[in-house]
Amino acid sequence: EDTIKVGILHSLSGTMAISETTLKDTMLMLIDEQNKKGGLLGKPLEPVVVDPASNWPLFAEKARELLTKDKVAAIFGCWTSVSRKSVLPVVEELNGLLFYPVQYEGEESSKNVFYTGAAPNQQAIPAVDYLMKELKVKRWVLAGTDYVYPRTTNKILEAYLKSKGVKDKDIMINYTPFGHSDWQSIVAEIKKFGSAGKKTAVVSTINGDANVPFYKELANQGISAESIPVVAFSVGEEELSGIDTKPLVGHLAAWNYFMSVDTPENAAFITKWHQFTKDRKRVTNDPMEAHYIGFNMWVKAVEKAGTTDPDAVSKAIIGIEVPNLTGGMAKMLPNHHITKPVLIGEIQEDGQFQTVWQTKTLVEGDAWSDYLPESKSIIAQWTPPINCGNYNTKTKKCSGQKY
Amino acid sequence: MLSVAALNQYYGESHTLWDLSLDIPVGASVALMGRNGVGKTTLLKCIMGLLPVRSGEIRYEDRSLTALRAEQRAELGIGYVPQGREIFPMLTVEENLKTGLRARGDKSKGIPEEIFEIFPVLKTMLRRRGGDLSGGQQQQLAIGRALVLRPKLLILDEPIEGIQPNIVSEIGDVIIRLNRARGKEVHFEKRESSVTDEIRDAIVRVNREMGVTVLLVEQKQHFVKRVADRFLIMDKGRIVAGGTMAELTEDLVRRYLTV
C-alpha cells in the first residue's frame, strides 16, 4: 500500500446531510492540508468517502465496508448518537478507530472510539451555571427533541438543578418529535410558563431541522432573548445560516468553539476553509473544530507510534495534546474524551455568536456523568491497570467489555 | 365518406382484423353485423383512433385519418357511441353532455336543446351522476353525448342494447332522421317555447344540409332492417359480405350470423 486511507462516514443525503456534509468537506480539507505537508509516515493520505444516507443500519454496513474492503486506518464520522451506536459494534469487532466529533450524551467509552465533541459536563452544566449565576434564572424550560441525547442531557440537568434547590414546579420539560415544525402551542406554553414573574430560560436540546421553525415561532410570538433567553446545545453557526437571525439576537448557545473567536489559529482555519470551499460565506462550527482536533491528534499519534496500527495508535494517542482553535490545547484523556473550554455565546444579527462567558480553564470531558446515580461510580480509563471503558469503582469490575 | 383499406390490427400477438377493407358512401346508413367476437368493436375503435393499427389506411372525407389522434378525429365530426356506454360515471348528466362541446368548434356553451327533445329523460336528470343512471338511461346519454358534437359521421356500437322498446323505436327514428335529413323535412316534436325554436331550426337546417352518415353495429335484425340502407357482414376479422339491405339473404344470415 502506498497510501494511508482515511474513512469519512458522514451522511451526504437524507435528513442528516444538512449537518454532516460540512464535516465531510472539513475532513477533505484537513487531509488535503496534511498531504501538502508531505502526508503521514511518508505516505499520502487518501480519503475514502461513503454515504450512509442518514440510515442507521447503513452506517454500520458502511463502516464495515470501510474497514474490510477499503482497509482504512481510521474513520472520522457520525453525527447522531444512534449512528454511533450502530457503528460501535463494528469498529470494536474489526478493531477500527472512530473519531466522533459531536457533543453527545456521554455514558459511553469504547476502546475504539475517540469522542472529540463535548460530553454533558463540557456544555450543558456550564451553560446552566451561567444562566443561574449571570442571568439569575429561576424557572427552567428543558425543551428537546425526543431522543437519547436530549433525554439524557435533561436528566442530568434536572438532577443538577434540583441539587441547586430548584423546585419541581419551576421546571418544565417538553419533548417533540424529530423535524417538529408546528411550535405554536409549545411556544405559547413557554410564554405562559415564563410569565409567572420569575426569570425564566429555555434550555434547548432541540435538534437540527426543528430549530428553524422553533426560532421563527419564538420571534413571532415576541419572545425576545431579554424576556426568556434560550440557550441551545445543538444550534451553531451552520444552523443559524439557515435562519433569519434578526429576531434572535441575544439568544444563547453553549459550545466549545465559535467562529467568532478571535485567535490566530481560528483566523487561519477560517481562511483555509474559505479557500477550500471557494465560498467566502461558508461558516465554521464546533463539530468542525472537533474534527480538526481529532484529526491532528490522530496524525500526531500515528507519527508517535510510527504506524497506523489501531492498537498502537490508541495507545499513543492518550495524553497527546494539540492546539484547539480557541487558543488552548486539547488533550486526549485516558477516557477517550478531550479537554475543552466552554464558551457561552449570544446570537448576533449576522448569524455569528458573541462570546459572553467562558470557563477560565479547560474542562475535562467526563464519559460517565456524576449526576446520574447509575453512572456516578463508573469511570473510563483506557490505560493500565484499569484499561476499561466502564469500570465500576465500587464493585471494582469492568463490565461489558469483550477484550 | 369513410373508407378503410387493408387494415390489420393485433391485440398483442393475436391478429384480430385481417386486411380489412370497406367503404361507406356519404349519407349512407350502414349496418355492420357479425357474430360475437368477430371484431366489430375492434374495427370501430380503430376508426375512432382508440386502438393502434398495425397496417392499412383509413380515409375520411378524402383525408387520411391514420396519423390523427382520436380527439382530432372527433373534431372532424366523427361521433362515437361505444359499446357498454362508457359514461363518465362521476360527472353529472349535464357535464357528460358538455364534454362534447369543445369538438363542436363553434364556441357554444350550451347543450343543444334538440338532445332533450330526443331524450326527454335526460332533461329531468341533468344533475344526477352519469354512473347512477340505469343502464338504459346511460345508453340514451351516450347517444345524446355523441350528438352534442354534431357529427357528420356517427358510429354506433350496439346502441339499443338495454333500451326499452318504445325508446328503441325512437332511437331508430333519430338515426333515420339524422341520416336522411338531406333534402327532406325534419321534424322534432316541438314542445318548447318559440325562443329556442330559432336555434333548433338552425340546427335542423345544418343537419339537413349535412345529412349524417351512420355506421351502426347491431345484432337485432328487425332494427337493422328499419334504420340501415346497407349492410356489411364481418367474420373472423374480415368483411365477408355487403350490399343493400335487400341483398341480405337468408343464406348469408345462416352462414355468418347463426352459431
Partner: protein
C-alpha cells in the same frame, strides 16, 4: 446625520415637557464629561458595561440617546488604531462610519479595522430601561408604550415619579393604560388598605401577566401558613380580581388554540391542495409533490437574493415565480414521464419517487445541503396584538388568509373553466374523453401543471415557517396524502375541511398529550375514522364509486 439631530430634538422636547427648563444647556458641566464616559464605555469589560452605561446616561448629554440606541442595535464600534468610537452602518465592502463625538463622517472602512462594542442580554434589558426613561416622551406612541413596559420591569421610585408625571400629559389611551397598570402594581405594596384595594380593582380587568402574578401573590401563604397579605378585605378583592382575569384568560386561551389549529390546518391544506388535484382528480400518485413545494421555497430564497433591498415585496414576486417554476417542472414531469403511465396509476408512484430523489439531489448540488435563510418581510413579522392575552402571529395569520385565497381561486378555476370538467372526464375515462374530442394530452399537462404550481405556491408559504432545505418536501408528503385521503379523494372541499379539522384536533390534543403523543393520536384517529367512513370525510358517492 438624521438620527442624531432627530434624537436631540426629541431629547429637548422631552425635557421641556418634564418642565425642567434649561436642562439642555445644563448637561455639559455636570460630573464626568460625555467624552470620558464614552471612553469608559469603550474600555469596560462586559461585566462593567452596565455601569458605564449608567455613567454615560448621567452625563445627560443629548448624544446619549443615539449612542445607547446604537449600542443596543449593535451599531457601535471603535476604531482599532485610534480608539475613536463610531457609529457603523453596513455599506458596500465594509461599514460606513461616523464619529460619535463630532458627527463627522469618516468614510467606509473594512470590518477588520473596527471592533464592535458588544453587549449581552442583561445589558440589553438595562439599556432598554435606561432608554425608556430617557425616551418616555418620544412622539411615536408605540415606542412610548415600549418605554413604559421596559420601565415597569423595575418600579423604583425614580421610575414611578417619571411615570406619574407622564400620565398627566399622556394622550394615547394604550400608553395611559400601561402607566396606570404600572402604578397600580406599585400601589399594591402601599401601606394603606384603601390604596391597595383601589389598585386591585384597577387591575381587575388587566391582562398584564405581572398583574395576575402580583394579585396571586396576595393570596399565597408563607411557610408558617399565614397569608402574605394580612387584610382579608384586600384578599377578597384580590380573589375576585384573579377570578375575573383567569376567566378572561381561559376564553382567550381557547380562541388562541383555535387559531393555532386553523393555522396548522392552513399549512396542511396548502401542502395538500395541489395533491388534491394531481392525486385526487388525476389519480397520479405524485411522490415528488413535496419536492415541487421545495422548489417553490427555494424560489423564494432566490427571489430574495435577487432583490436584496426589497424584502417587503419579495413575496409578491416569489408567488408567481414559484407558481411558474413548479408548474413548468410539473409539466415537464408530466410530459416526460407520467403521460406514459396513465392507466397504470401505481407505477406513477415508482417513477415520481425517482423524480423526487432526483430533485432533492439537484438542489443539494446547486444550493448545498444546508438550509437557506429566507427572511420574513416586516409586515409578516411579529404578531397582531388583540389584547394582553391574545395575539395572533402575523405570518400564520397571513398564511391562513393566503390558504383560503388559493383555495377559492382554485375552486373558481375548476368550476368555471372548461378545464375543470375536462380533467375529470379524462380521469374517469381517458379513451372516451378522447373520442369526445377532448385533447387529453393538453388537459393532462395543464392540470398537472396547475397542481404542481400550487405546490410551488405552498412552498412560498412554507418558506416563511420552516426550513428551506433539500428535505422540506419529504417532511410534508406523508401528511399531505393523509389530508387528501382523510378529506376524501377527488373532493377539494374535503381537503380544506379535512386539513382544518386535523389541524384543530391536533392543537386541542397537544396541550394534554404533548406533541409526540398528539401526533400519534391523530394518526390513530385517522385510521379509525377511515374504518367508519372508508372513503373519507366527503366520499365520492354513487353506483360507480361503490363498484
Amino acid at each position: 446625520m438624521r438620527p442624531l439631530i432627530f434624537g436631540m430634538g426629541r431629547w429637548c422636547i422631552a425635557m421641556l415637557i418634564m418642565m425642567m427648563p434649561g436642562f439642555c444647556q445644563a448637561v455639559a458641566d455636570s460630573g464626568e464629561s460625555f467624552a470620558e464616559a464614552l471612553v469608559r464605555l469603550k474600555e469596560a469589560p462586559l461585566t462593567e458595561l452596565g455601569e458605564a452605561v449608567d455613567r454615560l446616561a448621567e452625563t445627560k448629554d443629548p448624544r446619549v440617546v443615539p449612542v445607547l440606541r446604537a449600542l443596543l442595535d449593535g451599531r457601535l464600534y471603535y476604531r482599532k488604531d485610534d480608539g475613536h468610537v463610531v457609529f457603523g452602518d453596513p455599506a458596500e465592502d465594509g461599514l460606513a462610519i461616523v464619529d460619535v463625538l463630532d458627527e463627522q463622517a469618516l468614510g467606509i472602512v473594512s470590518k477588520f479595522e473596527l471592533k464592535k462594542i458588544g453587549i449581552n442580554n442583561a445589558l440589553r434589558t438595562h439599556l432598554r430601561e435606561t432608554l425608556g426613561r430617557l425616551e418616555l416622551a418620544v412622539e411615536d406612541p408605540a415606542q412610548r408604550l415600549k418605554a413604559v413596559e421596559a420601565m415597569s420591569k423595575s418600579l423604583d421610585d425614580e421610575n414611578l415619579e417619571l411615570l406619574r408625571a407622564r400620565l398627566d400629559v399622556e394622550t394615547d389611551a394604550k400608553v395611559s393604560e400601561a402607566i396606570k397598570t404600572a402604578l397600580a402594581l406599585a400601589d399594591i405594596s402601599n401601606d394603606e388598605k384603601a390604596v391597595r384595594i383601589a389598585a386591585i380593582n384597577a387591575l381587575r380587568g388587566s391582562l398584564n401577566p405581572d398583574a395576575l402574578n402580583r394579585l396571586r401573590q396576595l393570596l399565597e401563604k408563607d411557610e408558617a401558613g399565614n397569608y402574605l397579605e394580612p387584610d382579608s378585605d384586600v384578599r377578597n378583592s384580590a380573589q375576585v380580581a384573579v377570578k375575573s382575569i383567569e376567566s378572561k384568560l381561559a376564553l382567550y386561551g381557547a380562541v388562541e388554540t383555535v387559531f393555532f389549529g386553523l393555522s396548522l390546518g392552513a399549512v396542511l391544506v396548502l401542502a395538500s391542495i395541489g395533491l388534491a388535484i394531481t392525486f385526487g382528480v388525476m389519480g397520479v400518485i405524485n411522490m415528488a409533490h413535496g419536492e415541487l413545494m421545495m422548489l417553490g421555497a427555494y424560489t423564494t430564497y432566490v427571489v430574495q437574493q435577487l432583490m436584496p433591498g426589497h424584502l417587503d415585496i419579495s413575496l409578491f414576486v416569489a408567488i408567481p415565480a414559484a407558481f411558474l417554476l413548479s408548474a413548468l417542472v410539473g409539466i415537464a414531469i408530466e410530459r416526460g414521464i407520467i403521460r406514459f403511465l396513465y392507466g397504470r396509476p401505481l407505477e406513477t408512484l415508482l417513477a415520481t419517487f425517482g423524480v423526487s430523489l432526483f430533485l432533492q439531489q439537484l438542489v443539494r448540488t446547486i444550493f448545498s445541503p444546508l438550509n437557506r435563510s429566507v427572511a420574513t418581510p416586516s409586515w409578516m413579522s411579529g404578531s397582531l396584538e388583540i389584547n394582553g392575552a391574545l395575539s395572533l402571529t402575523l405570518n400564520r395569520f397571513y398564511i391562513l388568509l393566503f390558504c383560503l385565497l388559493v383555495f377559492a381561486a382554485l375552486l373558481q378555476v375548476l368550476k368555471r373553466s372548461r378545464i375543470g370538467l375536462e380533467v375529470r372526464a379524462v380521469a374517469q375515462n381517458r379513451a372516451m374523453a378522447k373520442a369526445m374530442g377532448i385533447p387529453t394530452e393538453r388537459v393532462d399537462a395543464l392540470t398537472f401543471g396547475l397542481g404542481s404550481g400550487i405546490a410551488g405556491v405552498a412552498g412560498v408559504a412554507l418558506s416563511q415557517l420552516t426550513n428551506v432545505g433539500p428535505n422540506l418536501g419529504q417532511s410534508y408528503i406523508v401528511d399531505s396524502f393523509m389530508v387528501v385521503v382523510f378529506g376524501g379523494v377527488g373532493n377539494l372541499w374535503g381537503t380544506l375541511i379535512g386539513g382544518f379539522s386535523l389541524g384543530i384536533a391536533n392543537k386541542l390534543l397537544e396541550p394534554y398529550a404533548g406533541a409526540v403523543l398528539a401526533k400519534i393520536l391523530m394518526l390513530v384517529f385517522i385510521i379509525l375514522f377511515i374504518q367508519k367512513r372508508p372513503r373519507g370525510l366527503f366520499p365520492q358517492k354513487g353506483r360507480a364509486a361503490e363498484a
